[in-house]
């Protein structure tokens, strides 16, 4: 997992499994950043993520809820077809900016 921060954006590159196991730690890390600035753009880059389930989606939705009222933005890029289906079933495709191939890259 890799988190990159600029003044306007936090990019989270999760690798491997984005499931129950990684969520508490990632949430704690992000909570610290969001305390400073809730109007930030948080981009989840799933290029290295081999698996995501409702625990991962829940974390992304949590970031959305923390930032949206303050003018923040959440995007999810490099989403596989399988993961896209989860976002669709969850009804998150309407709330979040989800892209199969992201122009927004880390580094």
């Amino acid at each position: 997992m890799k988190i990159e921060k600029t003044e306007k954006r936090i990019t989270v590159v999760t690798d491997g499994d984005f499931d129950l196991k990684v969520c508490p730690e990632l949430k704690a890390l992000l909570a610290v950043d969001l305390k400073h600035d809730r109007s930030i753009h948080v981009c989840f880059d799933l290029r290295k993520t081999s698996f995501i389930d409702s625990s991962g989606l829940g974390l992304i939705l949590w970031v959305y809820k923390e930032t949206a009222p303050y003018g923040g933005k959440v995007s999810v890029v490099n989403v596989t077809a399988s993961a896209e289906k989860l976002f669709d079933v969850a009804g998150l495709s309407r709330l979040l900016n989800i892209r199969r191939k992201g122009r927004e890259r880390l580094g």
């Binding site: 129950l20 409702s54 949590w62």
Partner: protein
């Protein structure tokens, strides 16, 4: 015994790192049956949701308790059973409603995903006796 017929049972501590182990074993089991890669991705979500629920809701974080995942295939039907001896579910119908969750930070989509990605889902549960999920999915015609 029929060449395809198979049975694998896993029993493990209710620890979050074991969700991945259950998922991998289930994916390998489903792969042997001949499910496609995209079918397997869906089956992985189903087992992951069920096992996560047993850990979080069933046992509420008590890692010393045991979760059981039973995989069987027989007569072209893949069966996935997930069992805990935890707190159980008082109102199964309510628990299965989309977006209902007893935990504030969760999405309440576990059952929705299990239902979406498997052909059938049956939930048996009683308070303080635990929960058994039985899911099935037709095997691909090979």
């Amino acid at each position: 015994m029929d060449k395809q017929e198979n049975y694998v049972k896993l029993e493990f501590y209710a620890k979050d790192q074991n969700v991945a182990i259950a998922r991998l074993a289930t994916a390998a089991f489903a792969g042997e049956i001949g499910f496609s890669l995209s079918d397997i991705e869906e089956i992985k979500v189903a087992v992951s949701e069920g096992v996560s629920n047993a850990i979080i809701h069933g046992y509420g974080g008590d890692e010393s308790r045991l979760v059981e995942v039973t995989l069987t295939v027989e007569k072209n039907l893949f069966k996935l059973e997930i069992k805990d001896d935890g707190v159980g579910i008082a109102d199964i119908k309510k628990a299965m409603e989309p977006t209902y969750s007893s935990v504030a930070e969760r999405m309440g989509l576990g059952f929705v995903f299990m239902e979406s990605f498997m052909d059938t889902l049956n939930v048996h549960s009683s308070l303080n006796c635990g929960t058994v999920l039985l899911m099935t999915r037709r095997c691909p015609h090979l």
